[in-house]
C-alpha cells in the first residue's frame, strides 16, 4: 500500500502498539472465560478488574461506576433509555441538542415516535448552546438532559460542568456523550456531576468493539442485556476480554500523555489551519472553542466529495459533513444547526489529528491541498466570483 496520511481520527484511531501488545495474550493463550471456576479462566477476571480501574482513573471515577459496553452508541442508548425507565412513567420529556451524534439524536426520534416530548436545543453560528434556554426547557416532566462533551464534526466543546450542575440542581438526570473528549482532554467526574457518561475505546487508540458507560454510584440502572451476572448484571454476556484489557491500557496511556499530546496536536492543527487560510481564498473555519485536534473547514464554491476523492488519490484520509459522501442528500445536521450557508456546508472538510500525526504529514497536506482547491474551482460555475 502506498502512503497513508491519516487525518480522520474523530472517525477512528490507530490501535496503540502498547494496547495491541496488551491485547495479544487474550487472543491466543489466555482465552479463558473470566466467569469460569478454574484459575485458567477465572484468572482473567483480575485483568478485567485492572482495566476497570484504569478506565475509572481516566474519568476520576470509581471502578464500581464503570460498565464495559460494545461501543459508544450502545452506551448512549443504554444511558438514555435507562434514565427514562428510572425516572418513571410520569416523566415523558427528554432534552438533547441538535448537534448530538446520531446515537443520541435517533434515540430522541425513536422516543418522539413513542409519544415522548423531545426538546432539541439549537446552537448559534459558533456552535454554542444558550444555557438559559437549556434551563428554561427543563420542565416538571423532564426525565433526562443529554449534552455532548465535544462535537465529533466540529470539535466544539460544551460547558458540561456548568450544565451538569444546573441540571442536577433541578433534580433531573444528566448524561453526556464524551466519546470525542475521552482520552483527549481531562474528563473529571469528580468535578462534573454527570449521572451517565459514554466513551468509545476506538476513539482513543483502543480497539473497536468496546465502550464504557459510566453510571454514578447510587443509581441502579436497570439491566438492558439480560442473561448473566456480567457488568453487575446490567449488561450480561461474556466479556470482550481483549478489547476491555486494551481499553484499560489505552486509558492509562492517554492519561499519561494527554497534556503533551494535546499541546502537540494543537500546534499541528493550528499550523494546518493557518496554512490553509493563508494559501486558499474563501475558506471558513466552522466552530469556535474547539478540541485541539479538530479542524472543520469550508471551501467556498466547491463540493467536498470532490475534495475528498482528490485527497484520497494522495493517500490523505479526511472526511466531510457533506451529503454526497454518505448517500444522504442533505448536508451535515451539525453545520445546518449552526446555520452555515448551504454552499459552505456542502464544501466542508474535517481534519482530525491524533498523537501519531507528524509535522511532515501536515506539510504534505499543505503542499497538496491548495492545487486541488484551485483545480476544483476551475470546474465550478461559481469560481469566477472569486475576486
Amino acid at each position: 500500500m502506498s502512503r497513508v496520511v491519516y487525518l480522520d481520527n474523530n472517525a477512528t484511531t490507530m490501535v496503540a502498539p502498547e494496547v495491541f501488545e496488551a491485547m495479544k495474550p487474550f487472543l491466543s493463550g489466555r482465552y479463558g472465560n473470566p466467569s469460569s471456576f478454574h484459575s485458567f479462566g477465572g484468572g482473567v477476571r483480575r485483568d478485567i478488574d485492572r482495566a476497570r480501574e484504569q478506565a475509572a482513573q481516566l474519568l476520576n471515577a470509581d471502578p464500581g461506576e464503570i460498565v464495559f459496553t460494545g461501543c459508544g452508541t450502545e452506551s448512549d442508548n443504554a444511558a438514555l433509555l435507562g434514565a427514562l425507565e428510572l425516572a418513571g412513567p410520569a416523566k415523558r420529556h427528554l432534552v438533547i441538542t441538535r448537534v448530538e451524534h446520531e446515537a443520541v439524536l435517533q434515540v430522541g426520534h425513536y422516543l418522539k415516535d413513542k409519544g415522548y416530548r423531545v426538546t432539541e436545543l439549537p446552537v448559534d453560528r459558533s456552535g454554542a448552546l444558550d444555557l438559559d434556554q437549556l434551563l428554561d426547557s427543563i420542565a416538571d416532566d423532564t426525565a433526562v438532559v443529554s449534552v455532548m462533551w465535544a462535537n465529533n464534526e466540529t470539535g466544539v466543546l460544551y460547558p458540561v460542568r456548568q450544565i451538569a450542575e444546573a441540571v442536577k440542581s433541578k433534580g433531573v438526570f444528566f448524561h453526556t456523550d464524551a466519546v470525542q473528549a475521552g482520552g483527549k482532554i481531562p474528563v473529571d467526574l469528580n468535578e462534573v456531576p454527570a449521572d451517565f457518561l459514554s466513551l468509545s475505546g476506538h476513539k482513543f487508540h483502543a480497539s473497536k468493539g468496546v465502550g464504557v458507560l459510566f453510571v454514578r454510584r447510587g443509581i441502579k440502572l436497570p439491566p438492558y442485556v439480560r442473561g448473566g451476572h456480567q457488568e453487575n448484571g446490567m449488561r450480561a454476556g461474556t466479556e470482550n476480554v481483549a478489547g476491555i484489557v486494551g481499553l484499560g491500557v489505552a486509558a492509562e496511556l492517554a492519561l499519561k500523555t494527554m497534556t503533551e499530546d494535546y499541546r502537540r496536536e494543537g500546534r499541528l492543527r493550528d499550523k494546518l489551519e493557518k496554512g490553509i487560510l493563508e494559501s486558499c481564498s474563501n475558506v471558513y473555519v466552522n466552530g469556535e472553542n474547539r478540541l485541539a485536534n479538530t479542524l472543520n473547514v469550508s471551501f467556498e464554491f466547491i463540493e467536498s466529495e470532490a475534495i475528498l476523492l482528490m485527497l484520497n488519490d494522495l493517500g490523505i484520509c479526511t472526511s466531510s459533513g457533506s451529503a454526497c459522501t454518505s448517500g444522504n442528500l442533505e448536508p451535515s445536521h451539525v453545520l445546518r444547526a449552526m446555520g452555515i450557508p448551504n454552499m459552505l456546508a456542502y464544501g466542508s472538510i474535517r481534519f482530525s489529528l491524533s498523537r501519531y500525526n507528524t509535522e511532515e504529514e501536515i506539510d504534505y497536506v499543505l503542499e497538496n491541498l491548495p492545487p486541488i482547491i484551485d483545480r476544483l474551482r476551475e470546474i465550478s460555475p461559481f469560481a469566477q466570483r472569486i475576486s
Binding site: 466529495e305 470532490a306 457533506s322 442533505e330 476551475e378 465550478s380
Partner: protein, 285 residues
C-alpha cells in the same frame, strides 16, 4: 467510499471540456446551491448545425463532474435532433455505471442539455427552470422531472425516484405524493383519499379586488397551508398590493434555504393556477 468505475474516476480526475464559451448558441444551468449540485452547459454550433464545441462547469461531487464531462463528449459533433434523444441512461452506460444513490447526477446532465437546447431555440435563459408544479420543496423537483425520470428509467419505488431526482431526500414530506405518481404511471390504483385536482374550476379571468383578496385567502388556507404543513412550515398573508401577494414564511420553511422554491414553486404557482396568472408572490423581509 463510493464504488466508482475507472471511467467515472478518469472523467473526474481529467474532466474534458471544462470552462465556458463566449457567445454560446445555447446555454443551460440546472440545480441550485440549496440542492448541492449546479451544472452549467454551453455549446456552439457549426454551419451544418452540429455541435462544434461544448463546455461545462459543475459544482458537485465526483460523479456530477464526471457526468457533465461525459455529456460534453457525447454531444460533440452531433445535431440538436440527435442530442435531444440522449437519455440519462446513456450517460450512465458511458460511465460504466453509477452508484444507485448517484443516478441524479446523470439526470442533471440530461436536464442541463434540455435547458441549453431550449435556450438556443427560444432564447429564454432557463436557469433554475421550474416547469409545472414543484413536488419536492426541499430540492425543488417538479412533477415533470419526476415523471420523466420514472418513465425513462423504469423506476418503480420512491427510493429509486429519490436516487434519480433527489425528490423526497430532504424532509420526506413528499414521499407519499411520489408514490402516487409512480402508481399512476404504472397503472396501479392511486392511493385512496387522493383528491382529483381536475374537478376544480379554472381560475376566473377578471376579478374585483375584493374577489381577488378572498380567493387568495381561500387558496392559501385550503391548498398552500396544508402543503407547507407537510414540510413543517407555515405562512402568513401580510398584504396584497396590486398583483403582489406579500407573505411571511414561518416554521421550518422560514429557516430553510429553499424559500425561493417555496415562494415561487409552491405559493406563486398555486396562486397563478387558482386566482390569476398575473400574481407574484413576494416574501416580506
Amino acid at each position: 467510499m463510493w464504488d466508482y468505475t475507472d471511467k467515472v474516476m478518469d472523467h473526474f480526475r481529467n474532466p474534458r471540456n471544462v470552462g465556458y464559451i463566449k457567445d454560446p448558441d445555447g446555454e443551460g444551468e440546472v440545480g441550485s446551491m440549496a440542492c448541492g449540485d449546479v451544472m452549467r452547459l454551453m455549446f456552439k454550433l457549426d454551419d451544418q448545425g452540429r455541435i462544434a464545441d461544448a463546455k461545462f462547469q459543475t459544482f458537485g461531487c465526483g460523479s456530477a463532474i464526471a457526468s457533465a464531462s461525459v455529456l460534453t463528449e457525447l454531444i460533440k459533433g452531433k445535431t440538436l435532433d440527435e442530442v435531444e434523444k440522449i437519455t440519462n441512461q446513456e450517460i450512465v452506460d458511458y460511465l460504466g455505471g453509477l452508484p444507485e444513490q448517484k443516478m441524479h447526477c446523470s439526470v442533471m446532465g440530461r436536464e442541463a442539455l434540455e435547458a441549453a437546447i431550449e435556450n438556443y431555440r427560444t432564447g429564454e435563459v432557463s436557469t433554475r427552470k421550474l416547469e409545472g408544479r414543484v413536488v419536492c420543496v426541499c430540492f425543488g423537483v417538479t412533477e415533470k422531472s419526476i415523471r420523466n425520470a420514472i418513465e425513462e428509467n423504469g423506476l418503480t419505488t420512491v427510493e429509486q425516484v429519490t436516487n434519480y431526482t433527489k425528490a423526497g431526500g430532504g424532509c420526506g414530506g413528499c414521499k407519499e405524493e411520489i408514490g402516487e405518481i409512480i402508481a399512476e404511471i404504472l397503472g396501479r390504483e392511486p392511493e385512496a383519499g387522493h383528491e382529483e385536482k381536475t374537478a376544480e374550476p379554472a381560475a376566473p379571468k377578471k376579478l374585483t379586488t375584493l374577489q381577488k383578496v378572498r380567493l387568495v385567502e381561500e387558496v392559501i388556507e385550503k391548498e398552500i397551508r396544508p402543503e407547507m404543513a407537510k414540510h413543517g412550515g407555515d405562512l402568513e398573508l401580510v398584504d396584497i398590493d396590486g398583483n403582489n401577494v406579500v407573505v411571511k414564511l414561518q416554521g421550518a420553511c422560514a429557516k430553510c434555504e429553499m424559500t425561493w422554491f417555496t415562494l415561487k414553486g409552491l405559493i406563486e404557482s398555486k396562486l397563478r393556477e387558482k386566482v390569476s396568472e398575473e400574481l407574484v408572490a413576494v416574501e416580506e423581509k
